[in-house]
Symmetry: C2
Subunit: 255 residues, 2 copies
């Protein structure tokens, strides 16, 4: 059944208008098999695949995840998105990236942009797509959702992320300790994305609130190098990588 589904989609893809379509695809959290059938089709039906470049000469994260699904004959477009906060530097990078992608779209080639996790959840795709749409308002853009890392981390931990009635809060890396205090007052479940740089401060706060027993860190969720740290009681500091998130449950699940 998978076969026929893939081939029907491939024939549909050969309709090429004047300018190509930009597809954005969430390739999932890391395990290549956590990609969706639709994402896979959207990779296979285009001539060109774009993705954020890796650092230090390594392949990018999304590129690594999707490696087995991309055909050697497909054009690879590696786009540099610097890991900085300076908005001028970022705008310039999005502009350069969008011009690179446009050079393919303008020739009528469809381009699929890969991102790690889900395409709408803290993703670089937003900036790329919006920069392109600013200059080319008629561009057709389609987003394909994917599995995001909080869900993957909960599954790896064997816990529900949320159950009936629970309020979930997701905080990205850029939060203050005061933000986190308020959030812990209110939420039932809190996910701290990219917890590396703030882990020690967060640990102190969770310790004060007696929440370390119900907290867990998942590093590289679903990758071969996945690591799980729980409970956190005896771990005031951890040497974490960039892909680490922390889940706090104010009440552990019970029936």
């Amino acid at each position: 059944m998978l076969e026929s589904s893939l081939s029907s989609s491939q024939s549909e893809a050969s309709v090429a208008p004047g300018i190509g379509t930009l597809f954005g695809v969430g390739v999932g959290p890391g395990d290549p098999d956590l990609i969706t059938i639709k994402a896979l089709e959207t990779i296979r039906k285009v001539p060109a695949i774009a993705f954020p470049a890796g650092v230090n000469g390594k392949p990018g994260i999304a590129e690594q995840i999707a490696e087995r699904w991309v055909h050697p004959r497909q054009t690879k477009i590696s786009l540099a998105f610097p890991y900085v906060l300076d908005s001028d530097t970022l705008s310039e990078a999005w502009k350069v990236a969008s011009e690179t992608v446009w050079s393919y779209l303008a020739q009528g080639q469809d381009v699929t942009f890969l991102c790690e996790g889900d395409i709408s959840f803290y993703s670089t795709f937003t900036y790329l797509a919006q920069t392109l749409l600013q200059n080319h308002p008629d561009l057709r853009v389609e987003a394909i959702p994917g599995v995001c890392s909080p869900m993957a981390a909960a599954a790896a931990l064997g816990i529900p992320l949320t159950t009936q009635g629970q309020k979930l809060v997701v905080l990205p890396a850029l939060y203050t300790v005061a933000d986190l205090e308020t959030t812990l007052d209110e939420a039932d479940v809190v996910v701290l994305m990219k917890v590396k740089s703030v882990y020690e401060k967060v640990w102190q706060m969770l310790n004060r609130r007696n929440l370390l027993e119900h907290s867990a860190v998942v590093e590289w969720a679903t990758w071969p190098q996945q690591k799980i740290y729980t409970p956190l009681s005896d771990r005031p500091s951890l040497d974490l990588s960039y892909f680490s998130l922390l889940i706090v449950q104010k009440q552990p699940f019970s029936l």
Copy 2:
């Protein structure tokens, strides 16, 4: 490549211990192609497929989503989970469901339980698995994450759900107006799940806060009957189905 991946997983699955393994699989928000390769493998490698029963004699939601991926020869286990809040009624339902599933596991058969969306995100699987584990602590349970509806809705709307630095709050159906007021004070992006029963009250609040222009309702995200309502300014009431969610962005995305 997909082929070899599927068959290697199938051979691995034929290792049968004394009792079967319970797999929980998120089948995605609705479009059957938004299932992951891993979920598909986990459906195909077991003899028995369980899912929440539908209402009024119709197939269940997860059952409908996965229909094309389940083989006619696989055993179907339809489990009744009443849509009520009474905890005695619910506990009794989980007990009955867990005994049904156990009758297969006890014979050494693996069972894959399907749920709509993601397996850890407001999912019935949690209750089924925990009820089983209470009575059978040695049971092996494995959860496979899936694409959840907020991500699918954002992709359908063509907007980012969250961008750099934004705080996301997800509220399930069971919240008070006061909860929502506090949440809107603090969050950058709010997702209200199952908004049907509270839509009119929510509309009033968003109207008072001038947030209707940045709000959208997505009904049946990624299903053929998907409907999008945005902006909400001229929609003080909507006749929504059970599978409707509302996304509020306090600041619309801009570069």
